[in-house]
Symmetry: D2
Subunit: 142 residues, 4 copies
């Protein structure tokens, strides 16, 4: 199995059982490649906080899920060891968010991944940086 | 109106219209005092990710909501200007999370708030730090 | 050796060989107790950046050193696994900064420590949060 | 004056008066372009902590200085509104660090900048993300 096929299978395997991201939040998995993932999330009334804008926690959740796919894409189990987020623009109902995650460095067991969340006009609404640590095990047996 | 009564009314006003926190995530507002808030969130199947543990994004969301109540509790509109989170322990279905947020400093328009998320056994599962900036306006007219 | 004596000896041992903190930056070690450390740094012309205020990197350095003493105080080698800082007020020449670091949680190998940097008027100028990971070895043989 | 010439003049103006970066830490300014800066810092005995590796605070200081040049390069005064750093590899005496800072987004008064610190073998030793806010004034009159 080559790296591209492996990453695609990691994505399908993880997404099938991710209730929080798929069912509760309504995300779609668009791409899972080696060191890269793209997910999409349409913003609905259920995502709005008291200011009638999307709760920042749900933007974080989209980016955190994208991070998980990108850092597990080599089929070596990896977990988040820290993350930070910057919120840049408010997100409104009926916006459609797309998050792209990219591996910046992977050295030994530790990696850095950058997630960029954009709305349907291509405006960056948030940037998330995650640090990963590989642990024992694989996403699917190989 | 004194500071304690004001904070309580801020809490009720904000929580009533916060669809994301109250209805989607199932949080309860326990306390909203000057510079302090406590919220609770029981973890259900809908909160679980592919590892069958609570999605980190939802723990962030609980802390971010608590932060919003604590930093708006003086009835001056405040927004998040940055935040970071550390995840310390996995959270499982049927755990009940309680998050307490406390003002650490408030100087001019800028404040620092620390949120501590604990499970029903009193174990700290996450720590979140938020920086706030006051903007124009109030939560309720006064 | 009890915990208090052990922490004091950790502090003396580490500080004696810390060229960067002691000689280059001019810090003094005031306290090293179990899970707590206090250091002081007078601000001189050498610390000033182009705005004629203390370079934020040196405030970070003071807090990072304090973090190292607090998280090694149990005489188990510990390293930083991530940190964040918020700068709250500018620092000027002839200010004297004091940084107190306190253990917030220590569970297994991982701890969270909060450092608070104050000037000689007791104003908080920066807050730093560090996550530590214990590794093999001790600061001094025991 | 075009954008490239303006950025170069910003760099020269700021660096000339930055005692902390130039004299105390021994940095060299290599590039100051619109939204981009590169600085270099050779690691000497004065930079070493008690583990005989470069103090993390000085790596932070190099990245923070690079951030300042990149976010002021448009000749509009800008200040740091938050930053985070990940340390990836230890740095030793006689290593030569190079830090490149790049503007990721600049929208209205707020920008995000990523700094990447590498050693003389091209290994990434730290990654720093800074959020800037433009304030009144310019670096040099124009």
């Amino acid at each position: 199995m080559d790296a591209i096929e492996r990453a695609r299978k990691v994505g399908e395997t993880m997404f099938a059982v991710d209730t929080a991201s798929r069912l509760t939040m309504g995300m779609e998995l668009l791409v899972c490649e080696p060191g890269r993932a793209v997910l999409r999330m349409p913003i609905k009334a259920m995502h709005l906080n008291g200011h009638q804008i999307c709760h920042g926690g749900f933007i974080f959740t989209l980016a955190d899920t994208t991070f998980a796919f990108a850092c597990n894409s080599h089929n070596k189990n990896a977990v988040a060891a820290g993350c930070s987020i910057e919120f840049l623009k408010p997100v409104h109902q009926d916006d459609v968010l797309t998050c792209e995650g990219l591996e910046q460095t992977l050295s030994g067991r530790h990696g850095i991944y950058d997630m960029r969340v954009q709305n349907q006009r291509g405006e960056v609404v948030a940037m998330f940086r995650g640090k990963s640590a590989q642990i024992a095990g694989t996403v699917f047996p190989e």
